[in-house]
């Protein structure tokens, strides 16, 4: 019997959300108002508030983790959903309202046009008024330098959560290598070494709400650089023609 052929559909917007009941409706409404032709999928990563219900009532499809798995795992669940549903492209954006849905078409254009496999919405590729704390800014510069040093792509904003991915990329990211917590330069380096083309487009981002506890806050701020160094080293050691690509 011949294997079933895949029907490739349009674009899926993946929004990982953890306790974002206050902002998720506004984010989904913003996507609708922007006119972007994307299906909206909210990954509720074990929220203790009404994030899932509000997202569903706002018209988004919702996949709820039974408990908190982490930002990277939430993204990966979205990728798996997109693979099974046959989407051609995935856009990912944060649920805190930091990203502007109006940038979605500009992110998708290079992917749909076949010019890039991964497009990063960058705060720093052009002069921007986005303010990042000195410690985070220093860390960003260091990891950007490290990425280039290890033969990775020259990317100005490797930690941006606003990205567009082609189907081969998000299919690849369904593998076990994909981190459950912080998918940053380690993933970019691995994707680059697998031959995926990575581009950046300038976007405007609003600062995160001050009351929001970011995933780099507290003790994680100490753990993050250590973990990122280790996982980047692992990506660097992964052979270019990796079986993961299957």
């Amino acid at each position: 019997m011949a294997p079933p052929t895949e029907t490739i559909r349009g674009s899926l917007l993946v929004i990982p959300a953890l306790n974002e009941a206050r902002s998720i409706a506004q984010v989904i409404r913003g996507v609708r108002d922007s006119g972007a032709e994307v299906d909206v999928l909210v990954i509720d990563d074990g929220s203790r508030d009404d994030t899932a219900r509000i997202a569903r009532e706002s018209g988004a499809a919702v996949v709820s983790h039974p408990f908190n798995l982490g930002y990277g795992a939430a993204l990966q669940t979205g990728y798996k959903y997109a693979v099974r549903a046959g989407y051609a492209t995935v856009v990912q954006m944060d649920a805190d309202g930091q990203h502007d849905p109006a940038d979605i078409p500009r992110l998708l254009a290079p992917v749909c046009g076949g010019e890039a496999d991964l497009v990063i919405g960058s705060r720093f590729v052009q002069a921007s008024d986005y303010e990042m704390g000195s410690v985070r800014s220093g860390a960003r510069r260091f990891f950007t330098f490290l990425l280039v040093l290890l033969g990775g792509p020259r990317v100005a904003d490797p930690t941006s959560g606003l990205q567009a991915l082609s189907r081969p990329v998000f299919r690849f990211c369904c593998s076990d290598f994909y981190p459950t917590d912080f998918p940053d330069i380690d993933v970019l380096l691995l994707l680059h070494r697998q031959g995926f083309r990575i581009h950046e487009v300038p976007v405007r981002m609003r600062p995160s709400p001050p009351e929001r506890r970011t995933m780099h806050a507290g003790l994680r701020a100490l753990y993050y650089p250590y973990k990122m160094l280790l996982s980047t080293f692992r990506s660097w050691l992964t052979p270019r023609a990796s079986p993961l690509a299957d």
């Binding site: 299906d39 919702v62 039974p66 669940t77």
Partner: protein, 154 residues
């Protein structure tokens, strides 16, 4: 006049010191109790058989070393320690390190399995909810109302 000691002789003296019978009895008792505890945990289903070989091996090895203490003396000479107790501490710590690393590896594997299972549960629940919303069997992949689903129907 200070007596002159040969350090080599002094070390041999330390190594050859007799092991008190009370310590041997205590070690044998503890090892036996440990073995019984392992068996009880297995019988109650709280410890899987696959995790027991390492603990039974350690308990039996400790019993052998207690009965034939010359084995410990030989090891002490080999590793360059001064006293048998140092040798026992050294190998004890080494064993704990290896066991900890082993469990960290097993834990990592299980964390990955739990993540995969949780993702599958979440995806299947979403699929089931979408099917129920349509009043159909659990065949559709897409949630009702999504643009792709609408395109399919058109």
């Amino acid at each position: 006049m200070n007596p002159q000691f040969d350090l080599g002789d002094l070390r041999q003296l330390y190594i050859a010191q007799p092991e008190p019978t009370s310590v041997r009895i205590l070690a044998l008792t503890l090892c036996t109790a440990f073995l019984v505890a392992v068996l009880v945990l297995v019988r109650r289903g709280k410890l899987r058989e696959e995790y027991t070989p390492i603990w039974t091996s350690v308990a039996v090895a400790t019993m052998i070393a207690t009965v034939w203490f010359d084995v410990v003396r030989l090891l002490t000479r080999l590793v360059g320690a001064w006293t048998p107790s140092s040798t026992l501490f050294f190998f004890g710590l080494l064993f704990l390190l290896v066991v900890s690393l082993n469990y960290a590896v097993r834990l990592s594997g299980m964390s990955t399995q739990v993540k995969l299972l949780a993702q599958e549960v979440a995806l299947l629940r979403a699929r089931l909810a979408a099917a129920e919303a349509r009043g159909a069997g659990p065949t559709p992949q897409l949630p009702a109302g999504s643009a792709a689903a609408s395109r399919d129907r058109e």
